[in-house]
């Protein structure tokens, strides 16, 4: 009887923990999975086809890096109850505030265009014209936010996060040699070949791991969800789960192209999906669906990150819990940003390659600033109290921030001057 009551107690306790996690889970998983956006999937597909399984270990390392950076936004949001844009204005004054605000707005708008490029090219594989894709996407994203509840939006977004796992069955369908994957992929080493090119690929993978919009998005999302200090451990666990999934998706995406398209020069994930169609129709289809989903997830997070930032700075209502008439500017900018991105993609002969290059460079100028502000805010005792960074967190976070700044700057320079590291 005693054993039975103990088991029942354990069961009740576990189900309570799971229920609590499901309530709090969201921002961390969404931001991390959305990190594998259209640009990210292209980078992984190209990495797999170029270096096979050889760089999988490097992707594993990027998980903890993403976690440590994003975890800081959780604490900052839960303690200050402010989004990142507002926190920068308040702590560093209007000069740095406006700088971050305009850089974020520009970077996000351009990145949003690249997400639309990914979505339209993914659905064009199925014969769906770009105009129809743009209309479907805007309607779908509109319906997600107009229902008037943050919680509902978050749960719908998590469903799209689950679709991102489509790369896992796709990888099993191409029958990779598991021994080879483990031997080549899990033992840290650098593959032979041009070091300049390898460096470029490493930088590109790092560049897709942390983007400025992720920091703004997760902090605003934590605030909009109404998280408090007591929720921080759960939100940190949510971010760990997200980091695990983002690395998992990246690894399986690399396995697909490394197994089937090894040695092929891949310029975009849509090209990889098209090339896979004659080899294995289902894998090609899965890759195209995954690319659309990646672009969609990126787009919902990026457009919201900017709308939240605008609302925070101008003092306008900015919450998914509010109706359109209560937060008109928040929703107006949300739809405007989608519309601009959709229209640019539809313009014949639009300089889409130039836009992609520009995104890399502009995002790089914002990333160091965002990370420096983040780490300084997390060291401010007046603001953070007992939640400020401790010594160990500072050693880890400063190392990550300095490393990311060096690598992302090098990536940006190599995007501007392609022969620099060759």
């Amino acid at each position: 009887m005693n054993a039975l009551s103990k088991t029942f107690y354990q069961y009740r306790r576990l189900s309570k923990i799971i229920k609590l996690f499901l309530i709090i889970a969201g921002p961390g998983i969404i931001v991390m999975v959305a990190d594998n956006d259209a640009g990210g999937i292209t980078t992984y597909a190209a990495t797999g086809s170029k270096y096979g399984y050889d760089l999988i270990w490097f992707l594993v390392l990027l998980g903890p890096i993403a976690y440590f950076v994003q975890e800081m936004t959780v604490r900052l949001g839960a303690v200050t109850k402010r989004g990142h844009a507002e926190a920068i204005f308040d702590a560093f004054g209007s000069f740095w505030g406006w700088f971050s605000f305009f850089d974020l707005g520009l970077t996000n708008q351009l990145t949003l265009i690249t997400e639309f490029i990914g979505m339209t090219s993914a659905l064009s594989i199925f014969g769906i014209p770009p105009l129809l894709t743009v209309i479907i996407v805007i309607l779908l994203m509109g319906a997600m936010v107009l229902q008037g509840k943050y919680w509902t939006w978050e749960k719908i977004a998590i469903v799209f996060c689950l679709v991102n796992l489509i790369y896992i069955p796709a990888a099993f369908m191409v029958h990779p040699d598991v021994n080879q994957v483990l031997r080549n992929g899990m033992i840290p080493h650098f593959p032979a070949g041009s070091t300049g090119e390898l460096f470029f690929f490493l930088m590109a993978n790092v560049g897709t791991t942390i983007a400025p919009w992720m920091i703004f998005f997760q902090q605003s999302s934590v605030v909009d969800k109404g998280m408090k200090e007591k929720d921080i451990p759960w939100a940190q666990f949510d971010t760990i789960v997200g980091a695990f999934f983002t690395v998992l998706v990246a690894i399986f995406c690399v396995i697909v192209t490394a197994t089937v398209l090894r040695g092929v020069d891949i310029q975009s994930a849509a090209q990889a999906a098209t090339m896979l169609m004659p080899i294995n129709k289902y894998v090609g289809t899965f890759l195209a669906i995954g690319l659309f989903d990646a672009g969609f997830l990126g787009a919902i997070c990026i457009s919201l990150a900017t709308s939240w930032a605008i609302g925070e700075v101008f003092g306008w209502a900015h919450s998914l819990n509010l109706k359109v008439r209560e937060a008109p500017w928040f929703y107006a900018y949300y739809f405007l940003s989608l519309l601009i991105a959709g229209v640019v993609v539809l313009i014949p002969n639009a300089p889409l390659v130039l836009i992609t290059l520009f995104v890399q460079v502009i995002a790089t100028t914002l990333l160091p600033a965002t990370m420096v502000f983040l780490i300084l805010l997390l060291n401010n005792e007046e603001l953070m109290g007992s939640y400020k960074n401790n010594r160990v967190q500072n050693i880890i976070n400063f190392s990550i921030v300095i490393g990311l700044i060096i690598l992302s700057t090098a990536y940006s320079l190599s995007a501007l001057f392609p022969n620099l590291f060759k």
């Binding site: 308040d90 003092g315 306008w316 300084l376 320079l413 501007l416």
Partner: protein, 64 residues
Amino acid sequence: MDENERDYNQSKGLLESIREINAKYRHPRIKMTRLVNISLWALRIYLIAMLLILFYKFATLVIH
């Protein structure tokens, strides 16, 4: 921020809002420790260097 303040902010003109934001955040609230000062200076130098590189790139693009 209460509802009245939010409604007031939403009905204001853009320029008026910007003026108010500049006035509200004129002085940084963060304590200017040595770490903060060094970080902000390093950031300024970094951004100026990146801007110069960008200008150089576009100038060479225009010339060629």
